[in-house]
């Protein structure tokens, strides 16, 4: 049997294990992984309906109520497709000295966690599909197949960027007792600067111009604009910039991993 097939089997098997692991406690999974995004959407939906119902002007920075709700609904879909929850277990593996076990496995540390990320993506794609159907049936989202394919493709790449960020943060467990603080900080900064709370058009001009030089708009604002058919910059250029950021953060992760291994003392061995 070729090496390639053997390798593919290992990936499939690890994904299957991670899949079962994730869904072992389904109620917990719903509250932990899906709950925050749904509640975030629920609050913003109510907030914007309330804001528009008291305005004399029906358009705020180019958004009428329908478009604003559409924007927020697409944010929900992008969050399901892109946001991972990788670094929690990864950091625990390091902190509790479990990475020594990976030396015995026919699968490396990064391969294991990447496979776990892919298995979560499968679940997240399913959740995003169901949510999309509900939102379309509720009349909140119009669907254009071309834009949908482009948006999903872009969001899945954004998922890789999220994974790269979280992988790097998880690796900081070589130095820190707890990494959840960094994870929460990333979430807070990303939510605020990516346009996940309010569209970037509502931000001051100087801040919006500055943000375009960072990876943050790629995490929410740009995928949503692609879904809405309102993204007028070059797709190729945007794609290349996103790939650049993914590559840059993975390079950083590699650097952190190498430095961290020098400190690792294999507790419990």
């Amino acid at each position: 049997m070729s090496v390639l097939v053997l390798e593919a089997r290992k990936w499939a098997q690890t994904m299957s294990i991670a899949f079962s692991d994730r869904l072992a406690y389904k109620f917990d999974f719903v509250l932990y992984v899906l709950g925050p995004s749904i509640v975030f959407f629920f609050i913003k939906y109510n907030l914007w309906v309330s804001i528009y119902s008291y305005q004399t002007e029906s358009v705020i920075k180019g958004y009428d109520l329908g478009m604003m709700l559409q924007y927020q609904a697409w944010i929900l879909i992008v969050s399901f497709l892109a946001q991972g929850h990788t670094s929690l277990q990864l950091a625990e593996d390091i902190r509790l000295g479990r990475i020594s076990s990976y030396l015995l496995y026919p699968f490396s540390f990064w391969q294991y966690h990447t496979a776990a990320f892919f298995s979560l993506q499968v679940i997240q794609i399913f959740v995003a599909t169901v949510s999309l159907m509900v939102l379309v049936l509720a009349g909140l989202l119009p669907v254009n197949l071309d834009l949908l394919i482009q948006g999903v493709f872009f969001s899945l790449l954004v998922g890789l960027l999220w994974f790269a960020f979280q992988f790097t943060i998880g690796l900081l467990a070589f130095w820190l007792e707890e990494t959840w603080v960094l994870r929460v900080m990333l979430m807070l900064v990303a939510q605020f600067l990516s346009g996940a709370i309010i569209p970037l058009e509502l931000y001051p001009d100087w801040l919006r111009s500055l943000l375009l030089y960072t990876p943050f708009p790629y995490l929410a604002y740009i995928p949503v604009k692609i879904f809405m058919g309102e993204y007028d910059a070059s797709y190729l250029q945007t794609l290349l910039i996103l790939i650049f950021w993914i590559g840059a953060v993975f390079m950083l992760a590699r650097f952190v991993w190498r430095r961290g291994l020098r400190l690792y003392s294999a507790a419990g061995m």
């Binding site: 917990d28 719903v30 609050i43 907030l47 309330s50 008291y54 820190l176 603080v181 900080m185 900064v189």
Partner: protein
């Protein structure tokens, strides 16, 4: 009085041990300060950016709305410092069976479980929510009577928030994994951080009567700004009902709890 004194002395020990523990992990200590500051700043700036484009949200202008948000963040700051960590610890104690050791101690179980751990780092971020609250209070020209009531209302809001959270957390006795319950608790907190008029009719009723998280901030701030007193009555009632239920479910939960050895 002797009982209160004993509890205060025990709480002093909790403060002392939490401070020693926090100082052992200095990087974590500093990161907590940065994290909390980021949370307060991003929340306040988001509201500020919205008000750059609208005159009113509901019936409130910028400073009334920011006063409400700062009121909730101030409660959050006290909650994060003195209570929050205990809920995460409670879920671990149940799963790992460590609750056994706590229940053996000669002091009230609920006190020991929910008030044992303090997060001193969060004290250092107090100037953001408290400063904003005071500034917005001046901007909306709160009366002297309202200023005098403000500390009492902050405490009242905190008591209702903590009571609801303890009640939610007791469901951990019945679930195998409890991290999700903690996230549920946090989602109710998120809902409570916006004034009641933001929510549409049915949701407002659900979150005012069935799970009264909207009373935490809306009841006191409506009284301070609009002199509406009826929600305050609801708040007292909610706290009373919560503690009746906490006492019932705590006892039922302990019967359900299987301890470490089982």
């Amino acid at each position: 009085m002797a009982v209160v004194g004993r509890y205060l002395r025990v709480y002093q020990q909790f403060l002392s041990s939490s401070l020693s523990e926090a100082m052992s992990f200095r990087a974590h200590f500093v990161l907590l300060i940065v994290m909390d500051s980021l949370f307060y700043l991003t929340t306040l700036l988001s509201v500020g950016f919205i008000y750059d484009h609208v005159e009113l949200i509901g019936v409130w202008g910028r400073w009334e709305f920011l006063f409400f948000v700062a009121f909730m963040l101030t409660i959050d700051q006290i909650h994060m410092t003195f209570i929050s960590q205990n809920f995460w610890q409670f879920s671990r104690d149940i799963v790992e069976g460590k609750l056994d050791f706590l229940l053996l101690k000669p002091i009230g179980g609920i006190f020991l479980v929910f008030f044992r751990r303090i997060r001193p780092a969060t004290i250092f971020t107090l100037f953001i929510p408290w400063g904003t609250l005071l500034y917005c209070g001046i901007e909306i020209e709160l009366s002297l009577f309202s200023w005098l009531l403000l500390p009492f209302f902050l405490l009242l809001g905190l008591v209702l928030l903590v009571s609801l959270e303890i009640l939610i957390s007791l469901s951990m006795f019945w679930t195998y994994q409890s991290i999700g319950i903690n996230f549920l608790r946090m989602q109710f907190q998120s809902v409570s951080r916006w004034p009641d008029f933001v929510y549409r009719h049915y949701f407002r009723k659900v979150f005012t009567i069935l799970m009264p998280v909207l009373l935490i901030g809306s009841a006191p701030v409506h009284f301070l700004i609009d002199r509406e007193w009826l929600p305050l009555v609801g708040m007292f009632l909610a706290i009373f009902v919560c503690w009746v239920l906490i006492n019932i479910f705590w006892k039922l939960g302990l019967r359900r709890y299987e301890s470490a050895s089982s």
